[in-house]
């Protein structure tokens, strides 16, 4: 379910790192909690954020939730497909439903994030 090579946050974001570029999205657990996603407000390319800062907003019909950036860095690409098809986040949260790519300014921050196993444990405890 949760890809082994991704890292996860307590706020239910995931990040996949290739070189010094990380791709960020929200987890399957998060999209299920939110229900039908109707809109994703993305950052702009070149915007810079500190780890944990609010970087995007994901909206369902009855809720709007902030998305925090898992690591510090500069946004280098956004998923423009989400503009017309926000349902991608529901359909393929760990793949086509990615939000944006970030150039990591401090890769050591990755060490603070959860592994897939840890995250699965975490959501189990949260569900209780």
């Amino acid at each position: 379910m949760y890809p082994k090579d991704y890292r996860y946050t307590e706020d239910h974001e995931w990040i996949k790192v290739e070189g010094n570029i990380g791709t960020v999205g929200i987890t399957d657990y998060a999209q299920k909690q939110l229900g039908d996603i109707v809109y994703v407000e993305l950052p702009e390319v070149d915007d810079e954020f500190e780890k944990g800062e609010e970087v995007a907003t994901v909206e369902s019909v009855k809720a709007a939730s902030p998305v925090m950036i898992p690591v510090s860095g500069k946004v280098v690409e956004i998923n423009e497909d989400l503009e017309d098809s926000p349902e991608l986040v529901n359909q393929d949260p760990h793949g086509k439903g990615w939000f944006f790519k970030v150039e990591l300014s401090d890769p050591s921050e990755l060490d603070d994030l959860m592994t897939a196993e840890q995250y699965e444990e975490y959501i189990k405890s949260e569900g209780e």
């Binding site: 809109y39 009855k62 709007a64």
Partner: protein, 445 residues
């Protein structure tokens, strides 16, 4: 005292007994409860009506050339008749769409009409009034152009609106730069100068037509702002949207937020309220728009219907991160506007605009020939303009009032020039009324 209360004393007693509560207010500590009754006497309906009839007759409604933000227009009987149907008047906000299609479809029709009138792509379902609508528009522009913090505002915006904007922005750390006028329209050179001096400007707000009645030169203004920063937003603030029956609408010039006051559309002056703030924008910025909006969708059977949508922008969901704190709006005034515009229709709207303009031009011409009064606007105007006089305005106004005429709104009422006033001619004014006013001007000393 009990005509609004359907429980009888006997029922009250029974109900109390059934729920086993001796003291209904037991949740409230005794020491907080009032020892004395409120000092307000009750009245029969007859007494209440008598009281209000008296108050209403203390108001004097003269032949009025007043405008400057609130307008006297003729309102067809069907507007009063239809809008007071209880299903519209006594319904709540349409949160249960299955039993609110009347309100929701009306909002959708209103949004369409306003978009078409303004030349814009999206309209919300109303704001409180033109003043708060401008304040909210500026905050909306700020959300769009995130990194800048100063708004430039033309001095031709309605002075009360400017005051409200200052109240709203003061606590949010947003700066205001005022741009002066030349010949009663925005001084373009000064606008350019203000822009060149300050790289922090995210929007420019301008009256269209402006407070003094003049049609601003949007064709020049918009490119100036866009050349400064293609992301910067031009906001138009309109007090009299009937003008767009003959004047090109803001959307024609690339204006990205068009806001203002639509009381003119089927709502009475009512001592300044309730009014009807409008706010329209482009599809691109819809998620940053404040206020409710209705959208089309389908039901379980695939039948077309309407719902309030894009709610995730609003306070009941986004709380402290909402686009606005607005909840109740001016829904019923919006309903009246929709009925009114339906009655006017394409041809009525254009013709009425032309009548207003023609009357106003007639008045301008006549006033131009008087000795002590002159029209100061050099640019085209719609149904109101600014008049300067070398006689004492207050004595002139008193003389007019004695003769059953209110000659216009004194600029001193806004803390502006003592020798000028705004004169408005809508269709409720006849050429004879104008002649009478001109005669009074002739006799002023």
């Amino acid at each position: 005292m009990s005509r609004f209360l359907p429980l009888s004393d006997e029922e009250r007693e029974q109900m109390l007994k059934e729920i086993g509560r001796e003291d209904l207010f037991s949740p409230i500590p005794k020491d907080l409860r009032l020892k004395e009754d409120l000092k307000i006497r009750s009245h029969s309906e007859k007494e209440v009506l008598y009281f209000f009839n008296n108050l209403a007759s203390m108001n004097k409604n003269l032949t009025s050339f007043a405008g400057a933000g609130v307008y006297h227009h003729f309102i067809p009987s069907a507007v009063d008749y239809l809008s007071t149907r209880e299903e519209f008047l006594t319904a709540y906000t349409p949160y249960q769409p299955e039993i609110s299609q009347g309100t929701l479809q009306t909002i959708f029709e209103y949004q369409t009409m306003m978009c078409n009138i303004l030349g814009m792509e999206v309209s919300n379902a109303s704001m409180y009034d033109g003043a708060t609508s401008l304040a909210e528009s500026i905050l909306m522009a700020k959300r769009i152009v995130k990194k800048k913090n100063t708004v430039a505002i033309s001095k031709g915006v309605h002075p009360h609106y400017l005051k409200v904007v200052k109240t709203y922005l003061k606590n949010l750390g947003i700066n205001i730069v005022e741009v002066g006028l030349k010949d009663y329209v925005t001084d373009i050179d000064q606008l350019k100068k203000r822009l060149s001096e300050n790289s922090d400007i995210f929007a420019f707000a301008v009256g269209y037509p402006n407070f003094y009645g003049s049609v601003e030169d949007l064709k020049e203004i918009v490119p100036v702002v866009k050349e400064y920063d293609k992301k910067a937003i031009v906001i138009t603030s309109t007090t009299e949207p009937l003008s767009f029956g003959i004047i090109a609408p803001p959307g024609d010039f690339g204006v990205e937020i068009a806001c203002g006051e639509a009381q003119s559309f089927g709502n009475y002056p009512g001592f300044g309220g309730p009014l009807l703030g409008f706010l329209a924008t482009t599809e691109k910025f819809v998620r940053q728009m404040p206020g409710r909006v209705a959208g089309q969708t389908v039901d379980l059977d695939g039948k077309t219907g309407y719902v309030l949508t894009l709610s995730a922008r609003e306070q009941h969901i986004k709380r402290e991160r909402a686009t606005s704190n607005i909840c109740s709006n001016q829904g019923w005034c919006m309903l009246r506007a929709t009925i009114y515009l339906s009655l006017l229709g394409e041809n009525g709207y254009k013709k009425l605009a032309k009548l207003n303009y023609s009357l106003s031009e007639y008045a301008k011409e006549k006033i131009g020939k008087t000795k002590h009064f002159k029209v100061v606007n050099t640019k085209p105007t719609f149904n109101e303009f600014t008049v300067q006089t070398d006689v004492d305005f207050l004595s002139f106004r008193a003389m007019c009032e004695e003769n059953g005429v209110f000659p216009g709104v004194h600029l001193a009422k806004f803390g502006l020039d003592k020798d000028k006033f705004i004169l408005t001619c809508t269709e409720v004014i006849t050429p004879e009324d104008i002649d009478k006013l001109v005669n009074l001007m002739e006799s002023a000393k």
